[in-house]
Subunit: 335 residues, 2 copies
DNA sequence: CGCAAACGTTGAAACGATTCATTAATACGA
DNA sequence: TCGTATTAATGAATCGTTTCAACGTTTGCG
């Protein structure tokens, strides 16, 4: 049996369809008696408004598309949750697309979202798809870049200053008197890794006698971090770094596990350790981890706000919001 | 400027709207020459099919609603990813709703999804909302329960046998010769906690001389686990458990951190430790953690399959799929 | 009492696609 | 050459809303 339509309600209540619509959208325009009669019919028939038809007429949907690199990553799941909260506040829903670092899937979702006439797309792009996104905006779908630096004059964007984060972390190590700094890098194709390294480099250059070594991990995982840690333990004392800055918390936790287990190097006495992201596990690690906090929730919320801004004033110039990361000091640098 | 419609394409190509529709949906019905002319116009005008209108006409959407308890929980984010993958295979998208254990938000999403005429709702319910869900199905929106035991004859469901998981974990500890078992419980309002305890109880009852103690944590977090660990360290040796089964991995990791840091009790020599969920961090803990693996990805995929099943044959009787969890042995019980 | 304003309700048009009965054009065989 | 298939293309109807000009009724005021 087909669900009841507004027409069914109208004939059941003995009024015109326009009146039912008014009851739903402008209750004040309808006389009390009529309104309650219509409401009764709605209840009796179990009528539920068909948002698809409403959207068609309005030419606008109530959904926002969100395309993330990896929903399994706490950074993005937290961001998604915040975006979804913010959207819910204005009665919208978030449709989630997980590109999984795959450019094909990314395009698939962009196509899907455009066909669905979402209000806008919040995207953390895999590759450079500026052209595709520009076409989107030209046809009326707003685009907001997330965790991706600057969309120039074309797109609004929200990101975190990773150079500044890298600087902050390294400066902290230097401030503790450490001079032999090492940066545990992930794959350099991630702009996050490159930027954090750049920040570290700058900090080291500012201090006479400080050196920076780059230890290259081939992944941003706990396992990769362990590999780096195991490598360190094998070295002779003189060549060891005394301050370690890792490209993210997973790497840092891996390094920590390796050192803790082998018990040859103490944290922070022998090596001070700083991570990045401040994931939940950082605070509750064996040695609570000093980290750089990214305001994930704020990023998600801001992305939605930037979109709302674009929607309410289509002529508004795109804005780029860049957040400053924050140093969170814990025992791993504070013995 | 409004995006181009099928009508614009038709007049640009000098054909009727029906022909454009046929080019899009049944290319064979259209002569080669006409088809290419239409395709040219589509490209030139940058036409993108309006899925909203299509859905209205079809009376069916291409979206699936997913309502989870907490997208920040790795269990659910992994599940969501799998569901989204499975949906993508059949050209559908997943709309995500995060209830955050809040019944009001849960209802909000149910309403929203029904108005959007999603094909079906996959839901991990906060409270007992059987009646609301029954109304949904009666109006044609399919419902699949996720990680919730048995929807009876009304709903299909997919879940994991937590009793069996608890039994498995405890049996393993007993098999190692441990006799003084303790279960680190989370809040008993979660059916997962109750079921896992029930399984543990059964296993202990099967072995003469074995005892089961319940240590009540007030949360399912690492921090709560630490509290339990700290409490254990303070005890005198005689009263200590030698086998510890935690309601989830977060608790287990907390306990592990406490014991590792204080170094009074060794894992697994003094206390063997088993967690639950087998989250990514379990394998890479200081002492790799033995755990009970839940097939999250499989759950997500199965939920989508159950939905597809209901959609393709509306008369099909609801099915309940229950997965068996699996024991993953690591160093924390295998010294 | 008469007129204007305010109020409530109506019903048709529109949104953009799909569907399908109908018509037009072409090909084929006798 | 004619009639019949076959193939293409047409365009109106439809999906379920919202919008809005038009209309009828009531109210208020002089």
């Amino acid at each position: 049996m087909r669900p009841a339509s507004i027409k069914d309600v109208a004939s059941h209540a003995g009024v015109a369809v326009g009146t039912v619509s008014n009851v739903l959208n402008y209750p004040d325009r309808v006389a009390d008696k009529t309104r309650s009669r219509v409401l009764d019919s709605i209840a009796e028939l179990g009528f539920v408004r068909n948002d698809v038809a409403r959207q068609l007429r309005a030419g606008q949907s109530r959904t926002i598309g969100l395309i993330v690199l990896d929903i399994g990553n706490p950074f993005f799941s937290s961001l998604a949750r915040a975006a979804e909260d913010a959207a819910a506040d204005s009665g919208n829903a978030v449709v989630l697309g997980n590109s999984g670092h795959d450019a094909t899937r990314e395009l698939h979702y962009i196509d899907l979202f455009e066909e669905q006439r979402v209000q806008g797309v919040l995207i953390s792009p895999v590759a450079d798809i500026t052209e595709r996104l520009r076409a989107l905006t030209q046809r009326g779908t707003k685009v907001i870049l997330v965790d991706s630096p600057a969309g120039g004059d074309t797109f609004s964007s929200v990101s975190v200053d990773d150079v500044s984060g890298g600087y902050l972390a390294t400066k902290h190590l230097l401030g503790l008197g450490r001079r032999r700094i090492a940066f545990v890098a992930g794959p350099q194709r991630f702009h996050q890794v490159r930027d954090r390294l750049a920040g570290a480099t700058r900090a080291v250059e500012e201090v006479a006698g400080a050196t920076l070594e780059v230890l290259q991990a081939d992944d941003l995982t706990v396992l990769a971090g362990r590999g780096i840690g195991d490598g360190l333990v094998g070295r002779d004392r003189g060549s060891l770094p005394d301050g370690l800055f890792c490209a993210n918390d997973l790497l840092a936790l891996g390094v920590m596990q390796s050192l803790t287990m082998l018990r040859t190097l103490r944290i922070p006495e022998d090596v001070a350790l700083v991570g990045y992201d401040d994931i939940d596990f950082a605070a509750s690690a064996v040695v609570p981890l000093t980290s750089i906090r990214q305001p994930t929730a704020l990023i998600g919320r801001t992305a939605v706000e930037l979109l709302t801004e674009q929607l309410s004033d289509p002529a508004a110039r795109p804005r780029s919001v860049v957040f400053k990361p924050e140093l969170v000091v814990r025992a791993s640098t504070n013995g």
